[in-house]
């Protein structure tokens, strides 16, 4: 009987595959193997509530420990899979995965959710004490250990993670400098309209933002960093910025070790899958941050999405594929970033937009930016404006439109403007 499913990777996606298998009535064995010391937990609060001390390890758990037993899901933490051999279908041969410890796991069907790892800073001093990254609970604990005593925080990288940590540090009264190589913040995720607002908003709260900055080196010793030296370009050239913590948030890269081992097609380490979450080896499904998937709203091209939403929605499709339910992955991508008291919510993918419509008021820190291409709605950035966010998310969900010329009137609720595409 082909009834053992192994899931390698115990993050949001890996856990969701297991949950969906059970929800869909799969009665065979389900084993999740993860390389972290903990079972599946929420990562988003690590740069927010966990750092601020309002969430603890137990509150981060995605499911209570007994949940796995109740659902007869075997959750194995702390094992790194270093080798996988696939069985021959129909031959009765099982596949076998081997952990670094020597422990082995037999399986009939395989799902991999390798996740991603922070991009490392390739400069002098990047290995000094107090130069930190933030991805895992262990990373967050390392940050917290130095957090209380730290007076000066330098954040390298003005993306979601960096700005969330910067906001938390400002709230805690620290001196905070954000250093970004690009000419604006969150350049990969939002338009310059939203970027400019965020630069101003962080500055108003006392954070210094240095754009178009090149790093020369990080200074300090193996125990303690003392600061960051900028290179001889830009407004702050050659400046030395004191730091007790240097928090690096310059993006993540897909973890590709397993995909390489299995010979799966990948681009820059990201595993290529089809709309059913199948890899180039149809016996293996993959989901989550490490995956390059067809545009989830059916537009051209492939995307890699680093988000809870993508991990969950893709995992559901992957689980169904494993048990023979053919369901195409279609989902509105959405993201959020809580930076202090600023809640950014994004629905859709704005890439390729040719028109924006702004609603609300930047001055009151409650506004939204709608993105269009050829007159069709693509996405929204909503700042402290969940009503607009929800309206756009629903419109995208149902393939409806919100005409740009009408959306510009902020006095009209967006949800009253939603029209079906055929209309």
């Amino acid at each position: 009987m082909d009834d053992r499913i192994l899931i390698i990777g115990a993050g949001q996606a890996g856990m969701q595959i297991a949950v969906t298998l059970r929800d869909e009535g799969f009665g065979g064995e389900v084993i999740i193997v993860g390389d972290e010391a903990y079972g599946p937990y929420q990562r988003p609060p690590l740069s927010k509530a966990y750092l601020a001390g309002t969430a603890d390890v137990e509150s981060l758990e995605l499911r209570a420990e007994h949940f796995y037993a109740d659902q007869t899901i075997e959750m194995v933490a702390g094992e790194t899979i270093v080798d996988v051999r696939l069985g021959e279908p129909g031959s009765g041969d099982a596949g076998i995965a081997t952990a670094a410890s020597g422990r082995t796991f037999e399986f009939d069907r395989l799902a991999i959710t390798p996740g991603s790892t922070p991009r490392r800073l390739p400069i002098e001093g990047a290995d000094l004490g107090g130069v930190l990254y933030l991805r895992s609970l262990a990373d967050a604990d390392a940050l917290k250990k130095r957090w209380t005593a730290a007076e000066n925080l330098v954040v390298i990288g003005g993306g979601f993670i960096g700005l969330e940590v910067a906001a938390a540090a400002r709230t805690a009264g620290k001196t905070v400098t954000v250093i970004e190589v690009a000419d604006r913040l969150m350049a990969r995720a939002v338009s310059s309209t939203t970027s400019e607002f965020y630069r101003g908003a962080h500055e108003r709260r006392g954070t210094r933002v240095v754009l178009e900055a090149q790093l020369a080196r990080i200074v300090g010793d193996a125990e303690h960093v003392t600061g960051v030296e900028l290179a001889g370009v830009g407004d702050a050239k050659g400046e030395f910025i004191p730091a007790d913590i240097v928090m690096v948030g310059i993006g993540v890269i897909a973890r590709s070790e397993l995909a390489d081992k299995l010979g799966l097609d990948n681009i820059n380490g990201a595993i290529v899958v089809n709309e059913y979450a199948e890899t180039s080896d149809p016996r293996i499904v993959a989901a989550g941050d490490a995956v390059l998937l067809p545009h989830p709203l059916g537009h051209d091209g492939q995307v890699r999405l680093e988000s809870v939403q993508n991990a969950v929605d893709q995992a559901k499709v992957a689980a169904k594929t494993l048990i023979g339910i053919r369901e195409v992955h279609r989902a509105v991508p959405w993201f959020w970033s809580d930076q202090g008291d600023l809640k950014l919510q994004i629905a859709g993918l704005s890439t390729g937009f040719d028109q924006i419509v702004e609603r609300g008021s930047q001055a009151s820190e409650k506004f939204s930016v709608l993105y269009y291409r050829d007159g069709r709605l693509l996405a929204i950035d909503a700042v402290n404006d969940p009503i607009d966010y929800i309206a756009v998310r629903r419109a995208l969900d149902t393939g409806a439109e919100i005409p740009a010329e009408l959306a510009a009137d902020s006095s009209v609720a967006l949800k009253t403007l939603i029209t079906s595409r055929e209309a």
Partner: protein, 107 residues
């Protein structure tokens, strides 16, 4: 530990002991109660943990905050006077015995 009773849309009833300070949403999700989606994990970012609070507890749970109030206007199921996002309801001894009906549609 304060107790919560959930009525899921499929008719099942589940009573759980909540950890003091955990939300009504967290307690449900961690224990596998059906019907609460809660994709954002409690950041008040997705409006997929919509519940109707039993009227006996209206005063004890208080009023939704501004952000939650706005999000409630975007729930998939009908908003009623006793609608709340369960991620924003933190458990405490005064809420012992809380009963909520999970909204039939979350997404």
């Amino acid at each position: 530990m304060p107790e919560i009773t959930y009525f899921s849309p499929d008719g099942t009833q589940t009573t759980l002991d909540a950890r003091d300070g955990d939300s009504v949403m967290e307690t449900a999700v961690k224990n596998g109660v059906k019907g609460i989606v809660a994709e954002c994990g409690g950041a008040c970012a997705c409006a997929t943990c919509h519940v109707y609070v039993d009227e006996a507890f209206t005063d004890a749970v208080g009023e939704p905050g501004d952000l939650e109030d706005d999000m409630l206007d975007g729930t998939a199921a009908e908003r009623l006077p006793n609608s709340r996002l369960s991620c924003q309801l933190k458990m405490n001894p005064a809420l012992n015995g809380l009963t909520v009906h999970i909204a039939p549609k979350q997404i």
